[in-house]
Symmetry: C2
Subunit: 414 residues, 2 copies
């Protein structure tokens, strides 16, 4: 059976069958699981409940838009036990198709367990933990995660009175923070995609045209990818506020508005390949270079110079705090201020965030950078009346850093 | 100052300024707040912490892609006190631009409070609750919500030892369940959008073409909307599994695969207008009608007849359980089985779900339907080897129900 057979749906069996389970092969998943269990051992965990959708995908290949109901992957510390997946019964087929797990480690619950029907999916989970002798274990859970609620936590405690439930938020995220060769390959491909996406965006934004048509072109380009490989939907929808809205960080397009001459348009977009991102920001001023407001040009000049210096400074052995401090020194003496963090780790993810919630380029983060870490260096400036963004997705290498995308760093004008 | 001024960014002031705050006017927001406070009074709540992004938008107009960090709206029971918004400092501008709240009720926290930097955003929140004399109150929180974590709950309890924190999950969702005239108008516009989106999808799916190009066309059409009004990104990305993947409910396109003759393609898509949805499903068989597998045609015929009967049966005064039972009676005697719920309430939403988590068309739900409720009647069938979907977004009316979209109910073939 070949990858092409699988792609074409010719696989008569069920495992391993689709998506990443095919792409990565058992070796990649084996390494991920091993590194996860090492961290579990450091924490004395006998089992880990993984509910973060990206972490579930990372460990098993699971790839369905089903995180809006309760689901998860349980990783027993015992390396002779395979992890198991649980979720809604109708999503079990998707788990069989996309994960490398044996079918008898894929459990689907009936709708009677659904939270929105008054059910208790944690009761289903605790039954399966009990079946595996994990009722009395020290169990790590992701206490700060979108897909594991406060109610889930209280119910799990009630359903497993003999277990010790401890906080293991971001344990798998930290395993993810150093990328493998295959992951870096996907992120390079995402870099090719964002180059095309950003080109499309800048060409589509014209005075008199509806904002929504530019946004539609952007999403189209994100999904189409390149001639040679496909894109995917990003974990953050296109952020492209214009005019007054360009003073804010996380607004998107205004569906019924038309661009006007003199608009500032912020573009925070990503290329995405098999859920691996290359996020990038640029800023467009909708008039000629001569008419750019002085303040905007000043911010742009200041940020672009500081960004270039900071990229040159990034490398292994330096800490996140070092990078942040260096950046602030570049700005020192100017009247441009950046009180928020300079950037963050990112990689494979689902909505609502491509950030990994591990490394932050901030004075308080003493993490030492390692080759294989990937950062979005994001010096966004949002003042009262306008904003400016120019950011780069980078890979920490043995020597310094590599930019995933090759795109001009400048303020774009008509 | 006119709506056009605001759209064009000519508003020199800050409030109320953009998005829905403009569209709905104070009357709509006033009614929403009043109905929310009525439900709070029934529960004896002195304040309500709203973290669900759709609920935040519903009550204040807030419209930013910032729910990946901690934020919320606090509604005091006291009608003389305005609600307040809190979130990350860089998102405060977006809150000032999109909500009707006075600027001194919009609080932004520095990055030092960020969860991912080891901070505690709940400490920031509890300080502001204390400032308003709400330290000792009976406080409702959304215990089962994506944007309020187990850790948040524990921290809030620690930071507010004199408060009584109780579960108010879905309180605002239930207020949302009956739509206003303006909301129904948006949903009718979303209905026009989904008609075009589904047309585009069915025309774009052809043997030999890459799945990603069809998906790109779909997203493009979702954002473009119609000639007269714009679309928006839906709360669920296009679900369009093909071939073997069409046996699963919540998979999306395969980025590098090409459609083949004989593929079954499931399409669960939505039109979206100002975050109000019109979700709809259809199924395409990629060959001529004569070559449709017998089993698939049998499922289609059975489901389509039962769906039509059930739509005729839906009306006010009947319960969700009645509808579910009627549907099951339509299937009785056939060999087509639908163990999962038949549908659910939906409306305005953000990722990851357009469902409202209130009414479910399931035997256990005794909710009586009321005019103004909106349901996605979704008889999806997923068998071992294939699936079939044909669903309708509907409005419960005084007489029965109205379909939001006018689109043929059939199995589509080449």
């Amino acid at each position: 059976m070949t990858a092409t057979d699988l792609e074409n749906g010719n696989n008569p069996g069920r495992q391993p069958s689709a998506g990443e389970a095919r792409e990565f092969g058992a070796g990649e998943f084996g390494a991920r699981l091993r590194r996860t269990r090492e961290r579990m051992a450091e924490r004395g965990l006998e089992a880990l409940l993984v509910t973060n959708a990206a972490n579930m995908h990372y460990l098993t290949g699971y790839d369905g838009w089903s995180f809006y109901v309760k689901q998860g992957v349980v990783v027993p510390a015992d390396e002779h036990m395979q992890p198991f997946w649980f979720g809604r019964a109708m999503d079990r087929s998707g788990a069989l198709l996309t994960t490398w797990l044996d079918p008898d480690n894929v459990y689907g619950y009936a709708d009677e367990y659904l939270e929105m029907l008054g059910g208790d999916p944690m009761a289903f989970l605790s039954e399966h933990l009990a079946e595996r002798g994990l009722s009395r274990c020290r169990l790590g859970v992701e206490m700060d995660n979108y897909w594991f609620s406060a109610r889930d936590y209280l119910r799990l405690g009630r359903d497993m009175p003999d277990a010790e439930i401890v906080d293991a938020t971001n344990l798998v995220n930290w395993v993810r923070s150093v990328k493998s060769a295959q992951e870096i390959q996907y992120m390079r491909e995402a870099g090719r995609i964002i180059e095309g996406v950003m080109d499309t965006a800048i060409e589509s934004i014209r005075p008199g045209d509806h904002e929504r048509y530019a946004a539609a072109r952007v999403l189209e380009a994100q999904i189409e990818g390149t001639e040679h490989f496909g894109g995917d939907f990003p974990a953050i929808m296109p952020l492209m506020p214009a005019s007054r809205r360009a003073a804010a960080a996380h607004l998107t397009f205004a569906s019924d508005r038309r661009y006007q001459s003199g608009d500032v348009v912020l573009l925070e977009l990503a290329g995405c390949r098999h859920h691996y991102h290359a996020p990038m920001s640029r800023t467009v001023y909708l008039d000629t270079r001569e008419r750019v407001p002085k303040r905007l040009m000043h911010i742009a000049d200041t940020v672009l110079e500081a960004l270039q210096s900071t990229l040159d400074y990034i490398g292994p052995g330096r800490t996140a705090a070092d990078i942040s401090q260096y950046w602030q020194e570049c700005l020192a003496g100017s009247d441009v201020h950046k009180p928020s963090r300079l950037g963050y780790a990112y990689g494979m993810n689902y909505v609502p965030d491509w950030g990994e919630h591990t490394v932050s380029l901030h004075p308080s983060d003493q993490t030492e950078l390692e080759p294989g870490m990937t950062l979005h260096v994001m010096p966004g400036i949002w003042e009262e009346a306008l904003g400016f963004e120019c950011s780069e997705p980078i890979l920490v290498t043995e020597q310094g850093c590599e930019r995933f995308a090759d795109f001009p760093q400048k303020l774009f004008t008509l």
